[in-house]
Symmetry: C2
Subunit: 330 residues, 2 copies
């Protein structure tokens, strides 16, 4: 990375970090960080890696967007558990030829998002990569013990909701790949959905605080995958209404113009980082704070059933909803 | 990785893990792990990555040794902070062509060491790598607040100690590279020092419990680097006695046979994962438990001084001890 030492690169990260909070007793610069746990709360931990050539293409994703996404995917996991972000550890494997300007951009995208969510970078690791750029982030958040959202709390009769809109990230990625970094000709707002995903942290907190959700997951690997996972962990079936899926007009049009069925695409489309969650019908009123002050609109898209299996209903016709989505190893 | 799905690979990891402890409220299989913090202790967090082609060569390091080392380097950071290991998150980036047997071997090496140190794997991430194998591990340990060892507590007059012996890992790596995976002709015990480094967890705990050490660091990047870091963080100078450095006869002979000065090699040699620490002279008695029940012999190798700078003394001759060691970016 340019002609910088490890120490020099760490300095460039530290320079962008706000003052350490009082609970961070020892920060960057020792063998480990030392942290005072938060009283009366449990910790939620998650790790996610972004690998060049697997999760992004440096040819048309700017360094700031790479850094942003690397942290957003982790924040999304905290959101799905109803946890408030607290700290992160960054582990970066950097190709020798990475320009220092790109390094700074990645750090900028990452720390910018961290500051917005009051997440503190407590430590990390830098190493050289003889291959792709890799960004591995561990995040820790906190939540009251009885409020943590899991995938296993759904019951037959629960309503199924999704936040925001679906398929935007997948459509944005296709636009970018088709047209190169500039994205000319695509929809700017759709492309931004891919480049700068927003983790639904505030929504997750609101669903957890008044126990509005019985189960939750983030849609990192698409709606079909998320629905199957909640169904499996909770031991329920689901009927999902294809006609109710929230899809932006630009996204619907883009898929249709390519001769693709928008619904099929959206079932398998990852990277949206919206929340899929279930709610007891009698708790519907508890969704009001989330609707009024959450990050995104909420749409009811189906219902949990006693009968196992997932069904997709569209215009009165029902068909089995097969598991679709991205498996890195298939 | 063979023809396995992500789920299949995760199953192969879980199968090797002991029963989850009661404080692990939600383990592998949700968006995040949920953990009950330990009362009256602070948390020590560290992350370290092992990258094929940078930190190890698959041609002569067996999968079990790769998995072992990936965790050992992290445990060593906890040891240097005086923390008791608690949990780990694993993030693996796997080349498509990795045989499932090698995957199992890596997991075996890793979980075997985890079990020995009562460290629980609470979660992780698997992804494909289009390039090298990468293993990124985050560990969390706990320690009483006033007992955490840092790099910044040394004062002028403090004695400087090192655990075990030095240079074994570097010599072992040279033996292996020279002779291929079998290591024929090299010293088996020296090669094991490279392949299966032992983190000095028990020693770290003992130094922390009765506050025997005023500062500590692990020697991941060599003695010179470690000494400079403690000196810098503590604002002291150091005089180190080259003739006192604990070097195994096999190691000394191996370097000498190559026409190399053992002391110079050892100052820059990384991968030993011994602890370097300082002790107030009046606290020397507090080292007794560590000497009797710690993992390794302790050797006094120098003293901290008021005058800044590091000096190496040998046979009555003093010279400046320059900073040497491995920088991934130089």
């Amino acid at each position: 990375v340019g002609d910088f030492t490890e120490r020099g690169l760490i300095d460039r990260i530290q320079r962008r970090l706000p003052k350490a909070p009082p609970w961070l007793l020892v920060g960057i610069g020792d063998d480990g960080a030392v942290v005072e746990p938060e009283r009366n709360r449990v910790e939620v931990l998650s790790v996610d890696a972004l690998v060049e050539g697997v999760h992004f293409d440096r040819a048309f994703v700017a360094p700031e967007a790479i850094g942003h996404r690397a942290l957003a995917v982790n924040l999304s996991d905290l959101a799905a558990m109803g946890a408030a972000p607290r700290l992160a550890l960054l582990s970066l494997a950097l190709p020798g030829g990475l320009p220092i300007h790109d390094f700074d951009g990645i750090v900028e995208g990452l720390t910018g998002l961290a500051v917005r969510h009051r997440l503190h970078v407590a430590g990390g690791n830098l190493t050289r990569s003889p291959g792709p750029l890799m960004i591995d982030i561990t995040v820790i958040g906190t939540v009251k013990r009885r409020q943590a959202l899991t995938r296993s709390g759904a019951r037959p009769g629960d309503d199924i909701y999704v936040s925001g809109t679906l398929g935007g990230a997948a459509a944005g990625l296709r636009m970018l790949s088709a047209m190169g970094r500039s994205g000319d000709g695509g929809s700017e707002s759709v492309i931004q959905r891919y480049l700068y995903p927003e983790a639904r942290v505030r929504l997750g907190l609101m669903l957890a605080r008044n126990r509005a959700a019985s189960a939750a997951i983030d849609l990192s690997d698409g709606l079909s995958d998320g629905a199957h996972r909640i169904a499996e962990c909770s031991g329920v079936g689901m009927v999902i209404d294809a006609d109710a899926l929230p899809i932006e007009p630009d996204v619907r049009r883009w898929f249709a113009d390519l001769g693709l069925d928008p619904v099929s695409e959206i079932l398998a489309a990852g990277d949206d980082y919206e929340l899929l969650f279930t709610t007891r019908p009698r708790s519907a009123g508890r969704l009001r704070p989330a609707r009024q002050h959450g990050d995104a609109a909420l749409t009811k898209i189906g219902i949990c059933t006693e009968e196992p299996g997932l069904t997709l209903r569209s215009g009165g016709i029902e068909r089995e909803l097969r598991r679709a989505g991205y498996d890195h190893f298939r």
